[in-house]
Symmetry: C2
Subunit: 192 residues, 2 copies
């Protein structure tokens, strides 16, 4: 049962709407989600939903932003670890996040497919943040050499493609997926 409309304070209500939205946007294409459905699932009126998020697009943008921040916080690298161990630890945290938030993760990557340029830009900003973090760990130059930038952006596409596929069909273990991602990044970053 969805919580009744009057029970939650505004921050909890916002959080709840984001969760319900992530579930629906994770399961269905953006165009196939109706704001009335989100309101019904959340146990609120359409008017209240609009009060918080100005409609479907605003709600989806808020979900993309919130998921990006959650993922960035969850995968903050531990500078006390050596590089490959730090990567392994961040990937473990990444996969923890994905397993705990499959709907949010799927919703974000559906957002990357959106025809709406502004929604795609939010997803791109999240990706750029991840890329900068990896680049600052592997290069003392700022900006990092172009070859490394290209390798890291390509690798993020690799991680997302394998993770989405694995989430739908976990045919290998989580550790195998992590090690696949580790050795692929190590190879991509290798000097020629």
């Amino acid at each position: 049962m969805a919580p009744a409309q009057q029970r939650l304070d505004p921050p909890s209500r916002r959080e709840h709407l984001l969760t319900v939205g992530a579930k629906l946007f994770g399961e269905h294409a953006y165009d196939d989600v109706w704001i009335e459905e989100v309101a019904r699932e959340a146990g609120v009126s359409r008017g209240l939903l609009y009060h918080y998020y100005a409609g479907k697009r605003g709600l989806f943008a808020a979900i993309l932003g919130a998921e990006g921040k959650k993922l960035a916080a969850a995968t903050k690298p531990d500078p006390s670890l050596r590089p490959v161990e730090r990567l392994r630890a961040s990937l473990d945290a990444y996969l923890d996040y994905v397993q705990e938030n499959p709907d949010g993760y799927r919703a974000v990557h559906r957002g990357a497919l959106s025809a709406d340029a502004e929604l795609r830009a939010i997803v791109q900003r999240n990706l750029d943040r991840q890329a900068r973090r990896i680049l600052s760990a592997v290069s003392s130059d700022d900006p990092a050499p172009k070859a490394l930038q290209l390798a890291v952006h390509g690798w993020l596409a690799f991680v997302i493609a394998t993770t989405l596929r694995w989430l739908d069909s976990p045919t290998i273990s989580r550790e195998q997926l992590r090690e696949l991602c580790v050795r692929t990044l190590v190879a991509a970053l290798q000097a020629e």
Copy 2:
């Protein structure tokens, strides 16, 4: 100048419409391309365009199919080469294709972003064909082990992400891009 409407025979006309369409769909999001614009650029009436391709969606689907076939033909592996050399030769052919057909390549990957499930399915079929070809070269099992399937699908996402980025901003040489893709696949396929 676009060829006048009466000058081309039907196969040449179809080919010309595909070329003009690929250019527009490569430069602009699907929703921002108007069928009237395609007809004007191609020097034909809207009616003639509909006669050949039943509208924007039909034209775009035909472009996706044609580009997939062209790419598959261009990158046909040479079985006389040893595995890594065969991969290198196929990647060279892939990058030749991309450099000769940048609009078509971009259009295909915009198609992958389409909200239209049927258009996305055409792009997915092209990708699946590429994946099967690579898998049959690296595994004698059919279907190939799940871990290899995942690695190859992830690697295709890597190649597409790096190639699209490189096409917009060729900050490294073509040979560097090819070698980046080679060593990444070798690592991804490595047994644990």
